[in-house]
C-alpha cells in the first residue's frame, strides 16, 4: 500500500479555499506537540494563544492595531508575488517610510503647524517606502540582480539608518540619552477612533487598501497585467504588457504601502521614532500574503489571524512563561504548511493498493 500524489485533471477551487484552513489545522497540531514537549498543557496553551485575546476589549482592539500594518504590507506584497517579483524587503520599506514621515514630525516639533502635518507625513512615508522599494526593482530590471537578495539586504541598511538617526541628529535632547525622538506633537499623530482606546485611523486606511487592492486585481487592466506577467510571462509579452514596467510598479506600490504602514505605526501606537518599532511586520506580512492566497479579502482575514498570534504570544509569555520566540516558530510552521497545502490544489493524495512500482518518470 502506498500514498501517492496524483495530478488532478483540473485545479480544485474548493481546495483553493480550504487549503489555508488545513494549513492552520496542521500548524495547531504541530504546536500542540511542541507545547507538550516544553512541558506545557497544549490545550491551555492554545487557549491562551487563540481564545484569551477575544475576551477583553483591549485585546480585541490590539488585534486590529497589529493587523493594520500586516494587512497593508501584505496587500502590496501580494501584487509583487502575483507578478513573480519576490519582494522580501518590506520590513526595510516599512522602516524607511517611518523615517521619511518622522522627518516632518521632527521638523515641525514645537511649531504651531496645522492639521496638515499628519496627512503630509502619510504622503512622505508612502513616497519614502516606494523609492526604497524601487531600488531592488531597478537593480533587477536594469542589471538582472536577484530582487530576493537585494531587497532583503536593504532591510539591514534601513535598520541601521534609523538607528543612526535616533541616536544622532534626531535624538530627543530631553530623553536621558535614550535612542528615541521626542514624542510627536498631536497634529503629527494618528487620530484615535474611540476616545481612550487603541483603535486608530490606520485600521480604516487598511480597509480602504484592501478594497482598492480587490478592485485593482479583479476589475482593472493593470491588475490583469500584473497577474499575467506572473502567471505566464511569455503570454504577457504576447499580450503587449511590459514586464519590467509592471515589476517597477508592483515594487513601488508595495513599498508605498509598507512605508505608509511604517509611518502609521510610528505616529500611532508608538508615538515617536525609535529602534525596534516593528516586531518583524514586514516578514510576517509575507506569511499573511500567502495565507490569504494573495487575495485581498483573504489577506484581511489572514492579517487578523497573525495579529492574534502576536497578542496570544505576549499573553502566553506573561501567563504561561512560554518564550515569545515560540510565536515566530509558530509563524514559520504556518508558512511551511500553507505552501505545502497549496500543492493539494493541483494534486491529490491517493492510496494505491498492491500496485506495481510507481513510475519513475526518468528518461
Amino acid at each position: 500500500m502506498q500514498l501517492v500524489l496524483e495530478k488532478r485533471a483540473e485545479r480544485s477551487s474548493a481546495i483553493a479555499l480550504i487549503s489555508p484552513l488545513i494549513a492552520i489545522g496542521l500548524t495547531l497540531a504541530t504546536m500542540s506537540i511542541l507545547f507538550a514537549m516544553l512541558g506545557k498543557n497544549p490545550i491551555s496553551a492554545l487557549g491562551v494563544y487563540f481564545i484569551a485575546p477575544f475576551v477583553d476589549s483591549y485585546s480585541l482592539q490590539e488585534i486590529a492595531v497589529k493587523a493594520t500594518p500586516l494587512v497593508m504590507i501584505a496587500i502590496g506584497l501580494s501584487l509583487c508575488y502575483l507578478a513573480n517579483a519576490w519582494n522580501i524587503g518590506a520590513e526595510g520599506q516599512f522602516l524607511i517610510g517611518a523615517v521619511a514621515g518622522s522627518w516632518l514630525a521632527v521638523k515641525t516639533q514645537g511649531t504651531d503647524a496645522g492639521p496638515w502635518v499628519f496627512p503630509a507625513m502619510l504622503l512622505l512615508g508612502a513616497v519614502g517606502g516606494a523609492l526604497y522599494g524601487l531600488i531592488p526593482a531597478i537593480c533587477k530590471v536594469r542589471f538582472g540582480a536577484s530582487e530576493i537578495l537585494t531587497s532583503l539586504m536593504l532591510v539591514y541598511v534601513a535598520d541601521l539608518l534609523l538607528d543612526y538617526l535616533v541616536r544622532g541628529p534626531w535624538r530627543d535632547p530631553k530623553g536621558f540619552n535614550f535612542p528615541t525622538t521626542a514624542e510627536f506633537d498631536p497634529v503629527a499623530t494618528v487620530p484615535v477612533l474611540i476616545e481612550g482606546g487603541r483603535l486608530h485611523l490606520g485600521g480604516v486606511i487598511a480597509l480602504v487598501v484592501v478594497a482598492a487592492g480587490a478592485v485593482l486585481l479583479a476589475r482593472t487592466i493593470k491588475g490583469f497585467e500584473i497577474r499575467v506577467v506572473g502567471a505566464a510571462p511569455r503570454a504577457a509579452r504576447f499580450g503587449g504588457f511590459n514586464s519590467n514596467q509592471l515589476i517597477l510598479l508592483a515594487f513601488a506600490i508595495s513599498g508605498a504601502l509598507a512605508g505608509m504602514a511604517g509611518i502609521i505605526e510610528v505616529a500611532g501606537p508608538v508615538g515617536h521614532l525609535q529602534p525596534g518599532i516593528s516586531p518583524g511586520y514586514g516578514f510576517t506580512a509575507i506569511i499573511v500574503a500567502f495565507l490569504g492566497r494573495l487575495n485581498p479579502i483573504g489577506i484581511l482575514f489572514a492579517g487578523l489571524f497573525l495579529a492574534l498570534t502576536f497578542i496570544g504570544g505576549e499573553q502566553a509569555q506573561i501567563t504561561m512563561k512560554i518564550p515569545l520566540d515560540v510565536t515566530k516558530v509558530f509563524q514559520g510552521i504556518l508558512l511551511f504548511f500553507v505552501l505545502a497545502c497549496d500543492s493539494l490544489i493541483l494534486y491529490r493524495f491517493k492510496l494505491v493498493f498492491a500496485s506495481p512500482k510507481v513510475s519513475r518518470g526518468a528518461h
Binding site: E6, I221, F224, V228, A235, G240, P356, K357, A362
Partner: protein
C-alpha cells in the same frame, strides 16, 4: 475486438513483444483501453491515431516510463514487468523520442555517453559511435556541440544512441515531423536496413502516405482503444484516415476568385540578430503580401521561423521602422499592441504559455489580445460582460467544445483551444493575420475548421501569412510558398509550381548554396 490478420507472413512462432489488454487510467480518463498488439521481428509496425488517441501512452508503457493500470506485456512469450527505461533498454528496447533530450552545450559524444548505461570508456564509446554512424549511413562528428547541428542531425544522434544499444526493437515517435522530404527518405533507408537485420520497429506517425510506403502492419488507435490492425499497403489513405478519425473529414474549399491587389503586409530587408545564444539571425528578409492572399512559409523547425514571428508581431522590434509595413504604415518600431491597433493579428505556435495563459479563464485570455482594440477596457477598468461576449461569439463561430461557459484555458483539448485562439483573432476581422503552425497537434476535425477559417479570412480581403512544417497543409491553403533556411527566406513561388522535391531542396538549403556559388563566380 475485430482483428483482421495481417497479410504478411511472420518469422518465428511467437511475437517479439505482445501487449495483452494493456490499460492505463489517469483518474477517470482511459488513456489506453485494453490495447492488445503483437510486434513481430523484421517488421515495421505503424501506430496510427490522432493526438490524444493514446499512442504516446502506449509506447511509454512499452518503454517502461509508465506502469500500466491493467493488462500485461510479454517479451518473446515471457511476461515482462519493466521497472523503468533502463530495464527496457537492457532487454533491447530502444526509443527515439519526438522531442529530443539533448544538451545543447555538450558534444555529440558526450550526449550519447549520458544516454547509455555505459560501462565502456569514453574513448571506446566514441570510436563505436563513429563506427555505428558510418555503418548505417548516419554521418556524425562526435566532437561537435549539439547547438551547432541541424534538427535532422540532432535526430541522428538520438537514432545512433538507440542503435548503439543493439536494439531488437526500436520505437520511433513521429521521426519525420522535423525532416525535409529528402532527409526522411534517408531515414527510411536506415529503417529498411534495420528491418532486414531482424529488428522490429514501431513507427508512430500520422503521415499516411509515409506509412503506406514504409510499414508492413498498422495498428490504429482512437480514444485509447485499438480500432484495427491492418496491412497499410492494402488500405487507402482515406480509409486509414476514416479509421483514425471515426468519420469523414471535411475538405476545405478555397473561394473561387479572390481580390489580390493591395499590399497589406510588406517586409523590407529585415535583418535581426538573435536575442539568445542559440537563436537564428534573420538575414535580409523581404516579401510582399497582398490582401486576399495566403503566403506559406515552409522550412524545418529552427531555421528562423520563431524569430520571424517575433519580428512581425512586435515581440521584438526592428531597428528600421520601414522593415515591417502593415497596411501602408511603417511598423518595425511599434509594439505588438500598436501593431494590433493597425489591424494586425497574431497566432503563435505555442498554445499554452504563449498564445494563452494556461491557468486563466478564456475570458481573460480574450482580454490578453483584445485589450488594445475592443470595448473590453474602459478608462482602465475591464468590462467582464464584453469579455464573456467574445468568448461566446468565438465558441459559437468556431464550435469550441468546453465543460463550462468560461473555463481555464488549460482545461480545453488542444484542438478546441486552438480553435478558440484562432477564432479570437479572426473575429476581430484583422487586415493582416500572421499565424504559426495553425494546426500543430490538433485533431483532424479541428484542423479542417481552422484551415477553412484562414481561407475565408483571406477571401474577405485580409492578408494571411502561415508558417508551417506540414507541407500538405501549405499546399492545401496557400497561394504562394517561400522556404526559410538558416534565417534566409527564399523567393516566394506559386503553390501550384511548388513540388515536394523543389521545397525539399530549398528546405535543405541547396538552392541557396547554388545561388551563393553563382554569386561568387560572378563577382
Amino acid at each position: 475486438m475485430p482483428d483482421s490478420t495481417p497479410a504478411v507472413q511472420h518469422t518465428g512462432a511467437t511475437p517479439l513483444l505482445q501487449t495483452v489488454g494493456l490499460t492505463k487510467r489517469y483518474g477517470t480518463l482511459l488513456a489506453n483501453d485494453a490495447v492488445s498488439i503483437d510486434i513481430w521481428p523484421q517488421q515495421i509496425h505503424a501506430l496510427l491515431g490522432e493526438n490524444g488517441a493514446g499512442k504516446s501512452t502506449l509506447v511509454k508503457t512499452i518503454y517502461g516510463l509508465i506502469q500500466p493500470s491493467e493488462g500485461e506485456m510479454r517479451w518473446q512469450g515471457e511476461q515482462m514487468v519493466l521497472s523503468g527505461p533502463s530495464d527496457a533498454r537492457a532487454r533491447g528496447i530502444g526509443m527515439v523520442f519526438q522531442h529530443f533530450s539533448l544538451f545543447d552545450n555538450l558534444t555529440v559524444a558526450e550526449n550519447v555517453a549520458l544516454g547509455l548505461d555505459g560501462k565502456e570508456s569514453f574513448k571506446d564509446m566514441s570510436a563505436r559511435l563513429e563506427e555505428v554512424s558510418r555503418v548505417y549511413g548516419l554521418p556524425l562528428n562526435p566532437k561537435r556541440e549539439v547547438w551547432q547541428l541541424s534538427v535532422g542531425e540532432r535526430q541522428r544522434i538520438e537514432i545512433v544512441r538507440a542503435l548503439m544499444q543493439n536494439p531488437k526493437f526500436l520505437i520511433l515517435d513521429e521521426p519525420t515531423a522535423v525532416l525535409t522530404p529528402q532527409e526522411a527518405d534517408q531515414l527510411f533507408i536506415v529503417l529498411d536496413r534495420l528491418k532486414a537485420e531482424g529488428c522490429a520497429i514501431l513507427y508512430i506517425s500520422h503521415k499516411l502516405a509515409e506509412v503506406k510506403r514504409l510499414c508492413d502492419t498498422a495498428t490504429i488507435l482512437r480514444d485509447g482503444k485499438k480500432v484495427s490492425t491492418c496491412n497499410p499497403k492494402a488500405e487507402t489513405a482515406a480509409s486509414l484516415a476514416r479509421m483514425m478519425v471515426g468519420g469523414e473529414i471535411r475538405r476545405v474549399k478555397a473561394a473561387a476568385d479572390r481580390q489580390t491587389n493591395v499590399a497589406r503586409l510588406v517586409v523590407n530587408d529585415l535583418t535581426l540578430a538573435p536575442d539568445d545564444l542559440h537563436g537564428v539571425r534573420l538575414q535580409h528578409i523581404s516579401f510582399e503580401l497582398r490582401g486576399g492572399e495566403i503566403l506559406g512559409i515552409a522550412g524545418v523547425a529552427g531555421n528562423g521561423q520563431d524569430e520571424l514571428f517575433a519580428a512581425l508581431s512586435g515581440e521584438r522590434l526592428a531597428q528600421d521602422p520601414g522593415a515591417v509595413v502593415i497596411d501602408g504604415r511603417a511598423a518595425g518600431h511599434l509594439s505588438i499592441t500598436q501593431r494590433r491597433k493597425l489591424g494586425a493579428a497574431f497566432v503563435p505556435e505555442e498554445r499554452l504559455g504563449h498564445a494563452a495563459a494556461p491557468r486563466m479563464r478564456l475570458s481573460e485570455n480574450a482580454l490578453l489580445t483584445g485589450h488594445a482594440a475592443s470595448g473590453m477596457v474602459q478608462h482602465g477598468f475591464v468590462n467582464t460582460a464584453a469579455m464573456l461576449k467574445t468568448v461566446d461569439r468565438t465558441t459559437e463561430a468556431f464550435d469550441v467544445r468546453k465543460a463550462s461557459r468560461d473555463p481555464e484555458a488549460a482545461s480545453l483539448s488542444g484542438g478546441n483551444l486552438q480553435k478558440f485562439i484562432v477564432g479570437r483573432e479572426i473575429l476581430r476581422s484583422p487586415a493582416v493575420l500572421v499565424v504559426s503552425q495553425p494546426t500543430w497537434g490538433v485533431d483532424a476535425g479541428a484542423g479542417a475548421v481552422i484551415r477553412q477559417a484562414l481561407l475565408d479570412l483571406a477571401a474577405s480581403g485580409a492578408a494571411v501569412l502561415v508558417t508551417s512544417q506540414d507541407l500538405d497543409e501549405l499546399t492545401e491553403i496557400t497561394d504562394r510558398i517561400a522556404v526559410m533556411f538558416h534565417g534566409h527566406l527564399s523567393e516566394p513561388m506559386a503553390t501550384v509550381d511548388a513540388s515536394r522535391e523543389k521545397l525539399g531542396l530549398l528546405m535543405g538549403g541547396s538552392t541557396l548554396e547554388q545561388k551563393e556559388a553563382a554569386h561568387a563566380a560572378g563577382a
